[in-house]
Amino acid sequence: MLHKLKPLGIVAAVLAIGAIIAGFVAGSMLSWLSLSLAVFLYFFLPGYSLLLHLQLDDIERCIFAFPVGGMAVSLVLYFLNLFGIALTRITVLGVIIVVTVASIALLHRKLISSAR
């Protein structure tokens, strides 16, 4: 399972390199790094986890993780807010964690049952 997450590490590295370069050109490097981390958490982490359920190659999964993660997190937040839950840092992080963990847990379960 862990080897499937390796490309996600490459995405994180590319985002970090982009942030460091941008830091030299346009303001605080720390701010760019924090934005890169936010983009990674919001878009790539949940999107990549969801796409693990499809038979894609690593590049396809990394590229389409961006729109898939964005739509998954934002749509869940949309409905939570309709039901009166405030959009806060905790809510956003909670949604990211739930989508990611649930997706990986389901995949893990599927792999175990198919191994049996």
């Binding site: 396809e60 389409f64 959009l87």
Partner: protein
């Protein structure tokens, strides 16, 4: 990523980073600076402002009062995701919302190009995909980035889901996957929640037709099931927002209308020039792609992609038969990363013609060399064009003075009528309830014609309801309209005409000047200066007060309020 050519992968990463840098660096000199991206023109005045409202209020269900005629809890009925995505991403970082907004728009554009790359790489080949990526992520002119530059970021972001939808549809051609079908439905819903029905409508029709065509040929039952799942998930996820949209009282002259509304192409829409080199490459590529389809050498995925590109070209040109030019022309800029496939196929055809004479390694190096040439030729001029946009602004110093005066010197609940000289959405910056006089141009013209005929109209025509007017709560009076009883039944509130029980309508109409506290107008530097001067003088003669002016703009206190 063992199955990937490492040199190509490196090229993809470099192009993607260069694409983001191209679009972000001209507009964000300092990421920590909390400044409205004013140089990105008009829609970007409003969208980042609303994103900040979502960020500060921790919700995206109601408007800021100044956006909704002063109503404090007006339901947010326009698509919410363009505001809530930047706002919620900003919650995870210390970067100001305004900058997050701009950077995310650039990321959506670059991931649109990357999505096309992934499709072309899988269903054509890696070289064509790489060329198409270089051409689309670093376009030869910023005109191709018009959607981003002008601030039509909702259209751009909605279209960014198209490669994902096409890719997953192609996936369904081969494999049974309920998850893929649900994701397509969710992506269509995301499109709807970003830019309303426009992009998601034609994409939905197209993929439905594609699934039907493949089903007719293969009789795979899962295609029907997948279509049903896609339709159901898109429908369920969009139902509430769709109901809100149906409640809208759209105002203005089709400004918020549909593709069939018949607006002409605005003259500020650029017509990107194509160099003869690219034109020749596109001709070669286009002929080769069409020949593959005609000779039945193309796979169903290739045929579907080419058909989608043809649809986009057709949609872009449909203004010639009277379809809304301002909407369809935008699909032309949207589709650019897909159109890039055509010259990329031309480049590949030329290299392939040489293949017999040189080794594969040389060809691979040639691929990279071509990408380097594209980047070298395109990056600097396009960056400089965008930099020029960033240093300019549609707000003249005089106009800014008028905006900041209204914002800083009028009561927070003041009603301001922008009689003339303020463009679409521009009024938002005053953070006041502003009644638009010039969004529906004919209404403005009616006002101006009267003034030019030396008539001081007792009532003024304008767009009173703002573009989105689903409201609840109380202002001066309440009038409830049961709409769609049984499903949603929002109480509407309208403001009453002064001294009457009649509400100011949520559609374009004429109302007395006394409905307002202030009138702001440009009286110099227009083609109707004498008419505006007439209004200024007459208002003062009737007891109004010139509250403020500079050498172009004036703010008048309306006689009743004075």
């Amino acid at each position: 990523m063992g199955d990937v050519n490492k040199l190509h992968l490196l090229a993809v990463i470099v192009i993607a980073l260069a694409g983001v840098a191209l679009m972000v660096l001209p507009f964000i000199p300092d990421i920590a600076q909390d400044t409205l991206p004013i140089s990105l023109t008009y829609d970007n005045f409003y969208h980042p402002l609303m994103a900040k409202v979502v960020y500060e209020t921790n919700q995206h269900t109601v408007y800021a009062p100044y956006r909704a005629m002063g109503v404090s809890n007006a339901l947010l009925a326009d698509p919410p995701l363009p505001y809530s995505i930047p706002a919620t991403v900003a919650m995870l970082t210390n970067v100001p919302v305004y900058n997050v907004f701009v950077i995310l728009a650039a990321l959506f554009q670059v991931f649109l190009c990357l999505g096309v790359y992934a499709i072309v790489r899988k269903y054509f080949n890696e070289s064509i995909a790489l060329f198409a990526l270089a051409i689309s992520a670093i376009p030869a002119t910023s005109a191709w980035l018009f959607q981003y530059e002008i601030g039509f970021t909702t259209s751009l972001e909605a279209f960014a889901f198209v490669p994902l939808i096409l890719f997953l549809t192609f996936y369904l051609f081969e494999k049974k996957s309920d998850l893929a079908a649900v994701l397509i439905g969710a992506a269509l819903s995301a499109q709807f929640m970003i830019h309303g029905p426009i992009e998601c409508a034609y994409v939905y029709v197209f993929i439905s037709a594609a699934l039907a065509a493949v089903w007719l040929k293969t009789k795979h039952k899962w295609l029907v099931r997948s279509w049903a799942i896609t339709t159901a998930s898109a429908g369920v996820l969009s139902a509430y927002q769709y109901a809100l949209l149906k409640l809208l009282r759209l105002t203005g002259e089709n400004i918020s209308g549909t593709l069939l509304a018949g607006n002409p192409i605005p003259d500020y829409f650029p017509k990107p020039a194509i160099s003869w080199v690219f034109g020749a490459l596109a001709l070669i590529g286009g002929v080769i792609l069409l020949l593959r389809v005609v000779q039945r050498k193309a796979t169903k995925q290739q045929v579907t992609l080419i058909c989608f590109i043809l649809l986009m070209i057709g949609l872009s040109l449909s203004f010639v038969i009277g379809v809304d030019g301002s909407r369809t022309m935008r699909q032309y800029y949207n589709a650019y990363p897909l159109l890039a496939l055509i010259p990329a196929a031309g480049i590949y055809a030329i290299i392939r013609a040489l293949k017999g004479k040189v080794s594969d390694n040389i060809i691979r190096i040639a691929d990279i060399a071509i990408v380097v040439v594209i980047l070298y030729l395109s990056f600097t001029p396009t960056f400089n064009e965008l930099k020029g946009t960033a240093t300019g602004s549609m707000a003249t110093p005089q106009r800014w003075q008028a905006i900041t005066w209204v914002r800083d010197h009028t009561p927070a609940d003041a009603r301001v009528f922008a009689l003339f000289g303020f463009e679409h959405e521009f009024e938002m910056l005053t953070e006041r309830v502003v009644y638009k006089g010039d969004l529906g141009l004919t209404f403005t013209q009616k006002n101006i014609i009267a003034l030019c005929n030396a008539q001081y109209p007792e009532t003024y025509a304008g767009q009173w309801g703002a573009a989105y007017s689903v409201r609840q709560g109380k202002v001066n009076g309440t009038e409830e309209y049961p709409v769609h009883a049984g499903f949603l039944n929002f109480p509407f509130t309208t403001m009453l005409r002064p001294g009457t029980d009649t509400p100011i309508p949520t559609v374009n109409d004429e109302v007395p000047l006394s409905s307002f506290n202030y009138v702001v107008l440009q009286y110099k530097g227009t083609q109707v200066d004498p008419c505006m001067a007439f209004f200024v003088n007459q208002t003062q003669e009737r007891g109004g007060k010139l509250a403020w002016h500079n050498d172009q703009f004036a703010v008048l206190e309306v006689p009743h309020a004075a």
